[in-house]
């Protein structure tokens, strides 16, 4: 009897020991689908009287609409239909009933409230909820004016994007490009700026002379571009706030292909002397110039790495147009493109790890990326004609332009802006009121 009890006890003990080790299961895969997101309308709280004109602004609908637009265009979020929402905005913002939102298949929820503070400043507050885990992820408020509601919407979009993807956002930014009109043989080109979602196009030049390749300074204060003012192709500097243009590349020869250094203090550009194009960097304030390449080949399209220590550029010193890198002082020149075809327009990613480029091979144009040592070349999109990729401020999206072929009457030849994700997905056209080319992206506007 005792023997049997002992055996049972021993067995039980054995059981306990053998079960102490928990089973571990490796979850190495998931899905990369856009995240189902519910963006509720915001609401005006009681501090805004029912007859207050602010209510007419309809910001309670417009702000979430813009946020939804941004998130949807990023390709990473799947906004759900508002018609299916069960809870009212004011209730959801206070304490969402998470089952209501899980029921419509949302995983996250954005709610918001618009109010007036005691100083009559407009206050926009938003909350981001994880409805599956039933908790609040983020809660922020912005003070602004009614007119500035778009910036607020973009900033809210950036916060939501960051909190859920782990990447910094890119919605509070602008795009500068060349607006084109007229026949192909005599195009009229003007500098144009707009919000990254296409809103609010403003023209910076009149179109009396050709303008090309505009670029923002990282501090968002200046634009540098090339203009044929007085039939002399030169690099100019435009002070955005003051609206003043300054001749920057005042050389006895063409200056072109300008870009800013990461600290916004220098403009790097090509200068063509006696037919030969080399790369120079100029301090904007002192106008002191440093020569960076000295070679009888064409050297152009320079672009700094985000830490300013290196430069990538385009050269045909090997006999064909290829991509090179060099140190910021012009030493250690190294070729990095070796595939078939010719390569141009290299641009260093803000993340520092990739260089985007244009490739021309067998009469087709490609936009692609490669690592900074030239390895891992990936072509993202192909077309009859497209070129000049430019990175979004978070290094995830590339904007570029495409042109359709034209007939001998000059019909066709339409240029439009396009964007594509680093992954090669989410290729989409960006609407502009006119034809457009040479787009580049600004830094985040709220960055100081």
């Amino acid at each position: 009897m005792i023997q049997r009890i002992l055996i049972v006890v021993l067995l039980l003990l054995f059981q306990q020991n053998s079960l102490k080790a928990l089973v571990t299961i490796d979850i190495t895969r998931g899905n990369l689908d856009p995240l189902p997101t519910a963006i509720s309308d915001f609401y005006f709280d009681d501090s805004i009287k029912p007859d207050d004109s602010i209510r007419k602004s309809r910001l309670d609908k417009k702000i979430p609409e813009l946020v939804e637009n941004n998130l949807q265009r990023s390709g990473l979020f799947f906004p759900l239909e508002k018609r299916s929402f069960i809870q009212k905005p004011e209730v959801a913002h206070a304490t969402p009933r998470f089952e209501d939102w899980i029921f419509i298949k949302a995983q996250v929820l954005v709610t918001g409230k618009i109010s007036l503070d005691k100083n009559q400043r407009l206050r926009v507050e938003f909350r981001l909820w994880d409805v599956v885990s039933a908790k609040e992820l983020s809660s922020l408020a912005f003070f602004t004016t009614t007119q500035n509601w778009r910036r607020i919407s973009h900033m809210i979009s950036d916060k939501v994007y960051e909190r859920l993807t782990g990447e910094t956002g890119y919605f509070d930014s602008r795009i500068i490009y060349v607006a084109e009109t007229g026949p192909k043989t005599n195009r009229v080109k003007r500098l144009a700026v707009m919000d990254q979602d296409g809103y609010g196009v403003k023209y910076l030049t009149l179109g009396n002379e050709l303008v090309l390749t505009p670029r923002f300074s990282p501090d968002n204060k200046y634009v540098t571009y090339m203009s044929y003012f007085r039939n002399l192709p030169r690099v100019y500097l435009l002070n955005i706030e003051a609206g003043i243009q300054d001749l920057l590349g005042d050389f006895p020869g063409m200056t072109f292909a300008p870009r800013f250094s990461p600290d916004s203090k220098r403009v790097i550009m090509s200068f063509a002397k006696d037919g030969n194009s080399d790369i120079y960097a100029m301090d904007i304030k002192t106008k002191v110039v440093e020569r960076l390449t000295d070679h009888p080949s064409i050297d152009t399209s320079p672009s700094y790495s985000p830490d300013g220590s290196s430069i990538t550029f385009n050269s045909d010193r090997s006999g064909t147009q290829q991509i090179y890198t060099m140190k910021g002082d012009g030493t250690a020149v190294k070729r990095i493109s070796f595939g078939e075809g010719i390569y141009g327009t290299p641009v260093w990613s803000p993340r520092g790890d990739l260089i985007a480029f244009t490739k021309f091979f067998r009469n087709r144009f490609y936009i692609g990326v490669m690592r900074t040592d030239g390895s891992g070349e990936r072509l993202l999109t192909e077309n009859f004609y497209q070129e000049a990729p430019s990175w979004s401020p978070n290094g995830r999206v590339l904007i570029f332009y495409r042109e359709t072929p034209s007939d001998d009457k000059g019909r066709g030849g339409n240029a439009k802006l396009w964007s594509i994700d680093l992954t090669g997905y989410n290729e989409r056209m960006i609407e502009t009121p006119t034809d457009a080319s040479d787009p580049t992206w600004s830094e985040i506007l709220s960055k100081k």
Partner: protein, 169 residues
Amino acid sequence: MKLAKISFIYVAVLLSLFLGACTTAQKATAPAPAPASAPAPVAEGDAYTGTDTVKFLADGIPDRVFFSTNKFNLTTAAVNSLNKQAVFLKANANLNVTIEGHADERGTREYNLALGEKRANIVKDYLISNGIASNRIKVVSYGKERPANPASSTLAWSQNRRSVTVRPN
């Protein structure tokens, strides 16, 4: 004896064709503005040889020369046209000109600006080497911004790869 002569000529012709095909070598050794000696003319490649789009500075003096894809070397036809232009300019000593260099649209914008600049400059250098004073000749590149033929065709592209000698208004 005759056979030897023929075969010698044959080999000579072969060799000259060989040399003519080595155009890339020329790029590295860009011709300096030397007096009298012109850069060696090259094979035509796909340079335009027609007369469409060609205007005239005066009777029988074409205002432009054409280039092969991605090249800025003067073809034999180009040299012939420029010789005529040089004569014309010598005869009209008060005339100053601007050489406009252009490229076709099958390339990236900034590189094409540089290529147009090379094409304009090689014409300027040739005219200088033929006795025209350098202060009479300005140079400007339009890259691919001002095509002569707006079509997207091989013919149009060849007509757009050009350097045009322009008289002021």
